[in-house]
Structures are given as C-alpha cells and as structure tokens.
C-alpha cells in the first residue's frame, strides 16, 4: 500500500500546478536574469507551473507562451481555493471513508495533532532507538563528499549577526 502511494506521489510532483503571478514579471527564455525576455506578464496572470530550477520556475502562461519566471513571484492556488476532499498522503494512508456518508474515520495509524501531543506520554525506548541512527561529524562529511556538496562561507543576514 505504501509503496504504491509513493510511486504515485513522486511523479505527481512534476505535474502542472496552477499558480498566479504576484507582480509584473518577465517571462525568460531560460532560467537566468540575463536571458532573453519572451514576454512581460502582468500581475495576477494565471500560469501553470511545470518545473523548478534554482530560483526559477518554468511556466506555461494563459495563451500558451512558455518560459521561466522568478519562483518567488508565484503563488499557488491551494490557499483559499479548496481542493476536493482531504488531499494527499494522509487520506491515502490514514483515513477511510465509511458507507455513503463520506464520514472520515482514522484507521489505527497514530499521528500528530494537538490533542495527541497534549496527551503524549514519554517514550524512552524510541528516544534510545534514535541514538542508534546518529551520524558522526566525520561520517556526515563523507556523506556530503559523496553528494559533491562543498561547504561554503555564507554570512547570516546582518540583523541576526548579534
């Protein structure tokens, strides 16, 4: 059940996602600020977001023009525009609909809502288990090197540099 859910989920993330521009934005031919401008899109233009690369998202605009916009200029439809039902993995794995009423019943899998947190008892055994998975500083360095990650000197923003 879980494997099926995962296989479904990962490709789904590449699907077109309806989004809106929060300001007037240049549609670029490639994901770079010095790339050629395909069109200038007005604030509130609706687009389909297709993929992200660094700070850029490839979109298809109303009318079919395709190109790249600043990802921070995009807001997605989710907030306010209710999607059908209870979206996502929580529904797939955790909730079953009963009968024709559509009432949702949690099926055994515990979770983390406010009530469960308030009533939680300490679980020393799990805390101990967590120790087993700890990574050493050296081990983590090797892991980073395998991923070709190289450490950078980056300053915190000024107001946090107390």
């Amino acid at each position: 059940m879980r494997i099926a859910a995962l296989v479904l989920l990962f490709p789904a993330l590449a699907f077109a996602e309806p989004a809106t521009l929060i300001r007037t934005t240049e549609l670029k031919q490639s994901p770079a600020s010095d790339a050629a401008t395909v069109a200038t899109l007005a604030e509130t233009t609706k687009v389909d977001a297709l993929e992200r690369k660094g700070g850029w998202t490839r979109v298809r605009a109303e009318g079919g023009a395709e190109g790249w916009v600043r990802m921070l200029a995009l807001r997605y439809a989710g907030a306010g525009e209710a999607k059908q039902g209870d979206a996502g993995i929580s529904q797939i794995l955790n909730v079953a609909r009963t009968g024709t009423s559509g009432a949702q019943v949690t099926t055994g899998v515990r979770g983390l809502d406010a009530e469960q947190l308030a009533n939680a008892k300490p679980n020393a055994a799990e805390l101990k288990k967590m120790e087993r998975y700890a990574a050493s500083r050296d081990g983590a360095e090797g892991f980073a090197a395998k991923g070709k990650l190289s450490a950078q000197q980056v300053d915190y923003p000024r107001e946090d540099g107390r």
Partner: protein
C-alpha cells in the same frame, strides 16, 4: 544547578501565593521572585538545555514513534549532521528523526533533537528541500527559541501555578514536569512569528553553507502554500506557523543569498533513491 534554583524560586512563589493573610507583603515578594526566576532561566546551561530537549523529544516520540526504516533514519541524520557542522554549535549531540505520522510538520527541541514527519518527507522533491527544512529547525536550536519561550511562559504562569504546585508533595518533580509541559505545549501552540521568520532566513544560509541549492526551503514553502489549509495533514502546522505565502514574502529579502547559491546541487536523485528504498 540552575534549574534547581528555578525550582526553588517557583516553590518560594508557591508558598507566598498560598498565604492570603500576608497578601500585600507577598505581592512584592512574588514579583521579586518572578524576576529572579527569569534571571535564573536565562542562565540555563548547555547540560540542562540538552536534558530539557531530551524530555521534550521523548514526549514527541510518545505521540508518534520513529518511522520503521533504518535507511531513511540514517539518511536524514547524515543530511542534518552535515548542516549542523556548518553552524556555531557544531558539537551539540545533534539527532534527527523521521516520525511515523501522516501529517506534515517538523519540530526542534532544545539541545539538538530534530524531527520531521513522514508526511512532510513524502512531499519533498530533493535533498536540498530536506536540507532547507532541517536547517530551519537547526536555527531554532541555535537561537534557543524554544528555551526562551519556555522561560517566558514560566514567568507568566508563575502566579497561577503557585497554589496547585504547593499542593503536591514532590515539588521538584512537579516543577520539572511543569517545564516539560510548557515545552511540549509549544508544539501545539507554536513560537512567535518573528522566531519562525528568523529561522527561515538562517535556514537558507545554513543550507547554502552546506553546499545545497539555497532554494530548497522556499520550494517546500511553495509546496505547502499550494495545499488546502483545511487539509487535516497541515492543520497543526498552519496553526503554529505564519502562512506559507507570508513566509515566502519575507524571504524575498534573502534573494541575493538565494540567487548566489541557487546553482548548488539539489540531489533529487539521491533523495528519490533513498525515499523509494523504503520497505
């Protein structure tokens, strides 16, 4: 030792508040003691910080156990430990865990225990996104956001708590329990908005220091922003954090840092390989 001093102060206040005949006198004493408690908790040492954090982590694990997959747990620890090594507190006992919960959330406890839920992990697309979220949580630990909130809460609750605390036999145990309860309550009540926005800014920097595409965290925020806030999977997280759109707005000022490190690896393949290896 500092914590013991706090407990002693709490007990003192409890005694004061429980003696109505000397009310006038005791108000001054109570205020005085409250100030002392504030001072004492500011001096919470690293050892106590770690202990409080372990207690909170144990409670969290009581609400949801670890996801039963060694590979995923080790993977998340590697990413997190590498990021923590890039900070000013590299030698805390950093521990990372994936909680077996379908909801989307992440938690930090003082001293370096950090959790993300399976639900959130499954919504991510790359290691850079995971790094962005872990770096946000690491920032809470670096800045002691929870510790400070517990301290503030302890001061405010002092008067109200005093009488009931006096009624108990083992005052130390009760008070320790009280700190822990205050800490656990933060999971469902949340931190100040300014703490969350600060953790976002520092998180971007720490992920960039780790060599990751700095847009990992903004990318997760966009995923969250695209979700229906009525969805039960995000209800608690949305209640305890500023709205994702507001967090994205606030991150615009980090654009120079974001862009300078946007070309670093996202490691989507390594992430997917680990994620798909589950069971």
């Amino acid at each position: 030792m500092n914590r013991l001093r706090v407990l002693a102060m709490c007990t003192l206040c409890a005694l004061c508040a429980a003696l109505p005949a000397q009310a006038q006198f005791n108000i001054n004493r109570l205020l005085d003691s409250a100030r002392n408690v504030g001072k004492a908790t500011q001096e919470i040492g690293e050892k106590e910080e770690i202990e409080i954090g372990q207690d909170m982590a144990s409670r969290l694990l009581g609400a949801a156990p670890l996801m039963a997959n060694d590979g995923v747990q080790r993977y998340v620890n590697s990413v997190g430990r590498w990021l923590a090594s890039q900070t000013e507190r590299p030698d805390l006992p950093w521990r990372f865990g994936v909680l077996e919960a379908p909801q989307l959330n992440a938690f930090a406890t003082p001293g370096g225990h950090i959790f993300i839920t399976r639900g959130l992990l499954e919504r991510m697309k790359s290691e850079a996104e995971l790094a962005g979220v872990l770096a946000h949580e690491i920032s809470h630990v670096l800045k002691k956001h929870h510790l400070k909130a517990i301290q503030k809460g302890a001061q405010m609750e002092l008067a109200g708590a005093a009488v009931s605390m006096l009624a108990r036999q083992d005052r130390n145990a009760v008070s320790r329990e009280k700190l822990l309860t205050a800490g656990t309550e933060l999971f469902s009540r949340g931190l100040d908005k300014s703490d969350e926005l600060e953790a976002d800014r520092l998180g971007v920097v720490i992920a960039a220091r780790g060599g990751y595409d700095a847009y990992g965290l903004p990318s997760v925020l966009q995923t969250l922003q695209a979700m229906n806030p009525e969805d039960s999977g995000v209800a608690l997280m949305f209640k305890t954090h500023p709205a994702p759109a507001e967090r994205l707005d606030a991150l615009e000022r980090m654009q120079p840092t974001l862009d300078a490190y946007a070309g670093q690896p996202q490691l989507a393949e390594r992430f997917a390989a680990t994620a798909r290896a589950r069971r």
